[in-house]
Amino acid sequence: MNWRSAAEFFAMGGYAPFVWGAYGLTAALMALEAWLAVRRRRRACAEAAREPRAREPLR
């Protein structure tokens, strides 16, 4: 292990705002994107289940 304590790990050699800022933003963006995609999927499923069937696709 590269670190002697948890405090050292979170400090990232003094670069904590840069490193954790970068990782935090990355995690937030990916979580947001995933949530939006899953939400879009769920909505599309719900809409599709409601639609009366047997017509040509929207294309």
Binding site: M1, N2, W3, F9, M12, G13, G14, Y15, F18, V19, G21, A22, Y23, L25, T26, L29, M30, E33, A34, L36, A37, V38, R40, R41, R42, R43, A44, C45, A46, E47, A48, A49, E51, P52, R53, A54, R55, E56, P57, L58, R59
Partner: protein, 251 residues
Amino acid sequence: MKTSALFSLAAPSRFYRASDRLVPWLWVAAALLAAAGLALGLLFAPADAQQGDAYRIIFIHVPAAWMSMVVYLAMAAWAAVGWVLNARMAAMLARALAPTGVVFTLIALATGAAWGKPAWGAWWVWDARLTSELILLFLYLGYLALVEAIDDVQRADRAGALVAVIGAVNVPVIYFSVRWWNTLHQGASVSLSAAPKLASPMLVAMLLMTCAFWAYAFAVVLTRAGAIVLERERGTEWVGRLGPAAAEPVA
């Protein structure tokens, strides 16, 4: 896989069912690979001799930048296939890829800035690589704005395909920028032709994170593609037959 079996996925119904089964595994793979990559990169890899621990941003910056380029090429390729072969599923995949490309490009730019400040003393410089990556973001946003602006789905797909394909020239510019111009951004440490100039645990962690980002990209793009398929194919026979299962998507 036989080519005929592969081409059968061109039918939205078959694509939908196949991707439905695959997506949960992709999320699991992404999580496991990320856990391994982050553990190795953040806990075990040593600090850099010059940059100390600030360099650890590399484990998200480089994979995101690679993905931003790969996703663009995939988007342009599928858009072109959709246009040339008049293939609906290909066009839908291109649309599904674009938002993920935006996310990776934003991550690459933002993490790059977070790294640039401690490493170079600047959040941003107008050097060749940074500028061309920013242009990539504009290309993604332009593609999305264009396809959303045109009501006729087919025309929107075709217009988008033109923009996507023309914009693809930017990807080799980004890649070769550090070689063609005198840039602040460092040159390639990892290449297909030469031994890597990176120490082993750092390289392994970076490759693990790249694989994690790949798995994540597939998971999120296939999820979105499934949504697009249902949106476009609403009311058709096969969607009707999905029945209660349709209301219970994966993830």
